[in-house]
Amino acid sequence: MARAMPLGLGRSGIAFLVIVAAAGVLVPFLNLATPVDSPWHVPTTTVVLFGKYLCFALLALSIDLVWGYCGILSLGHGAFFALGGYAMGMHLMREIGSRGVYGNPVLPDFMVFLNWKELPWYWYGFDQFWFAAIMALLVPGALAFVFGAFAFRSRVTGVYLSIITQAMTFALMLAFFRNDMGLGGNNGLTDFKDVLGFDLQQNATRCGLFALSAAALAAGFLVCRAIVSSKLGKVLVAVRDAESRTRFIGYRVEHFKLFVFTVSAMMAGLAGALYVPQVGIINPGEFAPANSIEAVIWVAVGGRGTLVGAALGARGRQRRQELVHRGASRALAVRARRAVHFRHAVPAEGAARPGRYPPRQAPGAAGGDAGPARNGR
């Protein structure tokens, strides 16, 4: 895997875009326009499955942007994904309207039977699609902004950052599990009927969502590409490789990190928002720390710092799930083996990329000789 830092798209990038675009057009076409018994027919199961992977790929892309290019290992990106999902889920919940089992035009079913009397304030506005769509980007973005502003200003880096991002997603999971949050507790949000008037159980809608996910992935890829190939992208890599050096030549590192972290969170939120109508459920399980770690593993397997690889790595989940189908133990063993295998791959990778891991010098810890900690802050 060549070190991809070209100013343009690069061959692999173009190929990736072509494939995503082709899939975005072909899969829906083959599902809708061919008869079920045709050899060319793509079954609905596959459409749903691949639609899911497209969303995972977008999530992986967003992680690669911060980890691969800026050295921020977020073990809490699943939280942004889930928040985007919840924003969309809340809209879909409101869309049900009076078709819920109790026929209450305003309150979702779970609120009705738990005796909620009125809609909590944070549900206002979600009856509008545009509002939900904005929130799906804004809420993860805002969380990332606030969290990042604190963390990066205080120069929480490396492992510490990873661990507090875990704590963040864990705390959110516990919070969303609470029924008092008014977001459906453990069951989360389900029973969706339609989106923008399209019935979610129609294949056409599914295909539409699939195409939309493909488009979002392509757009996300282009955005990431634009960022990493701009001068800002060079600064990010500089931060990853030698953070204090970057500071000493006058870049305010925390601002750059904050920017890219927020953009990445919004991408993850978008991925979540597209994921929810396709799988039909969002619940606090999506916040589980293990999910975030798994997403990082996709990126690691696909190739950190290569956007294409990250997106493809997410498809590794497909193989894992197939294996789970055959026997959980084997799947877990494979997943673990892959994680172990990955470590063997790294030295080789490092050798192929000279200077990537200079001896005796961990990335991020650079900055000349071991200077004393900045105290007083």
Partner: protein, 249 residues
């Protein structure tokens, strides 16, 4: 106070301690505009800590650090200090290994440092010319598209100096520029620094006495966090206390 007005860098009574250990102990020093100063001292004398204080990496417990007579460096962070015009070269060469030589210079090039300015930055002809000039100065023109990580140790040192030049600071802090270089390289580096000093103020920290002699500038000797002696190299090397510190009892 006249010192303060004329000085580019002014340190007064700076003290830094780590867990009871005093890395800097009531250090006072003045670097005049346009001056090149060499700083020597044994290990643990506080040379690097002093650099850290000047560049904002470490906050002093006590004391004043003023730049250009008016900027209180103890209140600013690294990026702000760099923007004021203080550039720093590290002891161990730190360049951006996975960037090309060209990009390294480009990143250091004087210009807007904001997030969005970077996002939408386009390389202008003027900037290209400045980069070319810097590359020529550090003799890396023909390796401009190579990854910085592939350069030799000496070339990395030069690249880092080149980045300093691109930054065009009023004051350069150079930490052991000759470490790990061959004699020929060392001499060339000294020549380069002298050339730079024609237009900039420079503070050089160095162990290598030959190199310091090559520079031929005023020398400050640090010991246990404070100034032990100051003067020309010949003066300080005749100082009994300096001899004691360097050679031991």
């Amino acid at each position: 106070m006249t010192e303060l007005v004329n000085s580019l860098l002014y340190l007064d009574g700076v003290t830094v301690s780590f867990d009871g250990f005093r890395a800097l102990n009531n250090l006072s020093m003045v670097v005049a505009r346009g001056e090149m100063r060499a700083i020597i001292g044994p290990n643990g004398a506080g040379k690097t800590t002093m650099m850290d204080v000047i560049t904002g990496k470490t906050r002093p417990d006590k004391g004043d650090v003023l730049f250009d007579g008016s900027h209180d460096l103890t209140k600013l962070d690294e990026a702000a200090i760099a923007e004021l015009g203080i550039g720093r070269k590290f002891q161990r060469p730190t360049v951006f290994d996975s960037h090309t030589v060209l990009d390294n210079i480009l990143l250091a090039l004087k210009g807007p440092r904001g997030v969005f300015a970077s996002l939408f930055a386009r390389l202008t002809g003027d900037e290209r010319d400045r980069i070319d000039t810097v590359l020529a100065t550090i003799r890396l023109t023909d390796r401009r598209h190579e990854l910085a990580g592939r350069l030799s140790h000496g070339q990395k040192q030069w690249l880092e100096i080149g980045m300093l030049l691109a930054q065009d600071p009023a004051l350069l802090l150079v930490d052991e520029p000759a470490a790990g270089m061959t004699d020929a390289e060392t001499a060339e580096t000294a020549a380069l620094l002298r050339r730079i000093a024609e237009t900039h103020s420079v503070v050089v920290v160095e162990h290598d006495m030959t190199f310091v002699r090559d520079l031929g500038v005023r020398v400050t000797v640090l010991h246990e966090g404070s100034v032990l002696a100051e003067g020309s190299l010949d003066q300080v090397s005749a100082d009994d206390r300096v001899i004691e510190v360097y050679l031991g009892r």
